[in-house]
Structures are given as structure tokens and as C-alpha cells.
Symmetry: C2
Subunit: 275 residues, 2 copies
């Protein structure tokens, strides 16, 4: 395929569910002219509780489905799949560039505060995998990293209760161990794609000087740089198109996903696919 044809292809975005729509939203804000195709593997979520072998198989099937549609790059907007399957997906899609959601957040945090203190808020699965801890330590051996599993923040975001007293009380309770550890982070990394929705609640609870590193917008920025560096940016002036695929539950996908994407979705906007 010639360069011009490749440039006009969509960017593929893949997640186990709707959380990755915060990443899709950030990519649309950063690259409004690009066509985007999103695949949420809602039939098999959550990935976090599955074995690495299963996660690799699921991610590979989802990637193959997006590859069939023709994509010029893939964003793995799922922390679990980014931590477990990124190398395999890069081999599978080579030479199409693949961007995970862990590295951009880790890189941004390390650049903001070399030798600094980083607090990662994530799901239990991501904490157990040590995904951000490893990515930060590789980039900055002097960095101090603490990780907190905050499962309830996922449910709060999906329920649409991301703002207000209940969300802030939950964040405050999750952060209680920091006082005991005497750990005052420079940066808080939102290590779960659901957590950008809770950014305000988190900001209202943490000290004013703490920087919140949002892995959705950092991933979008990396995607923009990578496409530009490879001469793959879509050059047309019109707004890009969006296709949304899911493997199950279009009704819930539309209702909950709309919150994550930041616009109303109808059931008819979701194409069901079988992997």
C-alpha cells in the first residue's frame, strides 16, 4: 500500500471494555481529523482476572479483527493487555506501530519529576503485574513508586458517580495508607483507563502541588508524535469518522461508554462482532 493510502486508514483502538474510550476521547481531541475504529471485547471482560496466556490470545484475536479492517496503527487502550501482550501484538502487526497505555504515562511521570515520587492508582490486576512500577524503574532507577489498587473507582466511574462526595470519600479512603507510609507523591498516575473520569474528585482530595498524570492524554500525545514521525497523519481537513465495535452488550456499552467517550451513544452506534 502506498503512503497516501496508508495515511487515510483509521487508527485502531482496543480495550477489554469501555474504559479505553477515555483514550479514544483523548485521541479524538488530539487528532480530530483521524478516522478511528474501537473494539471493546466486552464479552470477555475483565481481562485482569484472566491468565496471561488467555489475555494474549484474546488481545491477539481483537488485534486481528482490527487488522482485517485495515489500520495504520494500534493503540492498546487496556492496561492489562499493555502489560502482558504488547510484545506479541507488536510482532503480530509489524510494521504497523503499536502503542500501549502504560509506557506513555510512565514516561510522562518520569520526565515531570526525575528521581521523584510517583503514586500509581490502578486495578488490582495492574498492581499485581507491577506494570507501572517496572516501566518507571526502567526509565528512572532513582524514582520511588507506590501502587494502590482501587477497584471501586472502576465501578464508581461506570455507575456515572465520578463527581461528588461519595467519589471523593472513596478516593480519600484509598489514599489513607499514604499517611502511614509517610509518602507524599509528586505525581499521581492514573493507571486505569477508567480513572480520567475521576480526575476532579482526585484533585479535590490531594494536596494542591500534586500533578495528576492521565494515561489517556499521554497516550494520545504519543500516538500523535508517532504518526507524525512516520508521515502517517491524515492530511484531510474534515473531521474523522468513528466506528465502535463490541463483542457483547451493546445496550450497556452505549449507556456506560457514552460517559467515557464524553458524548451520547445509541445502541445502533455499536456494531456487535464475534471474535
Amino acid at each position: 500500500m502506498n503512503a497516501s493510502a496508508t495515511r487515510s486508514l483509521p487508527i485502531g483502538v482496543f480495550d477489554s471494555g469501555v474504559g479505553g474510550l477515555t483514550v479514544l476521547h483523548a485521541i479524538r481531541e488530539t487528532l480530530p481529523n483521524e478516522d478511528l475504529i474501537y473494539l471493546g471485547d466486552t464479552a470477555r471482560l475483565p481481562y485482569g482476572t484472566k491468565s496471561p496466556a488467555s489475555i494474549c490470545r484474546y488481545a491477539s484475536q481483537a488485534t486481528a479483527r482490527l487488522q482485517e479492517q485495515g489500520i495504520k496503527s494500534l493503540v492498546v487502550a487496556c492496561n492489562t493487555a499493555s502489560a502482558v501482550a504488547l510484545d506479541e501484538l507488536r510482532q503480530q502487526l509489524d510494521p504497523v506501530p503499536v502503542i500501549g497505555v502504560v509506557e506513555p504515562g510512565a514516561t510522562a511521570a518520569v520526565e515531570l519529576s526525575p528521581g521523584g515520587k510517583h503514586l500509581v492508582l490502578a486495578t488490582e490486576a495492574t498492581v499485581i503485574l507491577g506494570a507501572y512500577r517496572n516501566a518507571i524503574s526502567e526509565r528512572d532507577p532513582n524514582a520511588e513508586v507506590r501502587e494502590l489498587a482501587c477497584e471501586l473507582l472502576v465501578s464508581i466511574a461506570e455507575e456515572g458517580w465520578s463527581n461528588g462526595a461519595i467519589a471523593e470519600d472513596i478516593v480519600r479512603r484509598y489514599l489513607e495508607p499514604l499517611a502511614t507510609m509517610a509518602f507524599e507523591p509528586d505525581n499521581i498516575i492514573l493507571g486505569c483507563t477508567h480513572f480520567p473520569l475521576l480526575q476532579d474528585a482526585i484533585r479535590n482530595v490531594v494536596p494542591a502541588g500534586t500533578t495528576i498524570v492521565d494515561s489517556a492524554s499521554t497516550t494520545a500525545a504519543v500516538a500523535a508524535h508517532l504518526l507524525a514521525d512516520n508521515g502517517l497523519l491524515n492530511e484531510r481537513a474534515a473531521a474523522g469518522r468513528l466506528r465502535l465495535l463490541a463483542t457483547d452488550g451493546a445496550t450497556r456499552f452505549a449507556r456506560v461508554g457514552g460517559r467515557f467517550l464524553g458524548e451520547d451513544l445509541a445502541v445502533e452506534d455499536i456494531e456487535l462482532v464475534d471474535l
Copy 2:
């Protein structure tokens, strides 16, 4: 098999995850001498978002696994599977009696308040299936039923935050629509196996006269009656044994499941099985 041999078999209990351990706990309290074998299909949870055909297939596989071990009755301690697959499982196990978790709660509520007002707190999947609404209406056409999907209560229970201000604030917020509806329930039915853990938080929030119908203890009572009626109660005096099987995630099963069972569990207490 003769009657005496059958009496000494365990009761099988099946759920998609750890929630059914509240039912197991209630059965142990009611029938302390019975052997129990529990299977949590943690690899494939949650069932609520799966298609009815998938739920029936999963439930049937789990039931077959328990049947291989030899059981004298089966308790389907999963609201989704009870609503979708009970008839199929009864055919599969016939003549072994099968008890679901929806009917006992519905029956108890209707007996407590004939022609009364019932509020069902459940997961979104159970509400969409109308499981309790149908079961109550069949038993009492004059009953008024309202159902509220309370997804966050599942996560709060799994996180171990079932008591205290955050849990009560969440319950209060879920109950807000009742004021608008001018609906003052006689009974609140806990239509999710996770919710018995939240009984105190719910009681602290609702008017003093409201009865809380716990589907775990009502199911245990039905199981006890059914075994007695069929001459299947274990007649020995010693305490029953307990086996716990899961299809994935023994570490999390032990940690979270311990809260639901009401006793500490170690990873070694969980036998991993493949379905």
C-alpha cells in the same frame, strides 16, 4: 444408590464467583452436619453480562462437575443462573432436587406481606431479567414490586467496605428514587448474593419498620425443608466438611471469599478446576 448412601452425600452449591458463599454460609448455619461442595466459576464471571445461551452452557458444565463428585441436591447460588437456567439444570439433575436463589426470597417476601410492597435490590442483569418481579407476581398478583440496580454494592462488598459511612451513603443514594416514586416498601429483598454483607448498612438507612429479606438465609431454609421432606438429611452428629472449587484466581477467591463465607480462607483451601 440406597437412601442411606444418598443421605451422606454433600450438597452442591454453585455460583459464578464468590457471592454464593453467603448462601453457603447460611446453609452451614442451618445444616451444620451436612457436607458441602462449592464451585465458583470465577474464570467466566460475571454471568450477568453473558447471553442466556452462554449462561445455560456454563451453568450446565458447572453442574456436571458437581454431579461427578456425587451430590444429593444442588443449590444454584447465583441470581443470573437461577433466573435463566433453573429449568435446564432441573432436567439435567433429575431426580436430584435443584434449588435456585430467586424463588425462596420471593416466596418469603410474599408470605411476610401479602398484597404488599416489595423493593428488590439487585444487579443490573437481574433487574433486566425481571427475575424477582416475575417470581413475586406469580405468587401474589396483588403485590407491588420495584427493582433497583445497585452495581456498586457488589464492588463495595468485594472490597470489604460493607460497613460504615461510605456504604451507607451509597445505599442512601440508590434509594433516592423511592422518594420521587412515593414508594415505601414493606420489604427490601436482597436480590444479589453479595448483599447480605450490606444488611447492616441497609438497615441503618431504611425506615425502622422495613423488613429485609435475605435470599441467602431463605434459600438455606428451603434447602433444609426440601432435604427433610425427602428424607435426605445427614443423620451423623459430627460437623460437615467443606470443599471449595474455583475455575480461576485462587488467591483472590480466598481473600474476598473469606469475607463472604465469614471465616479466613487460605489459597490452599481452594481447589482449581477446569470446566
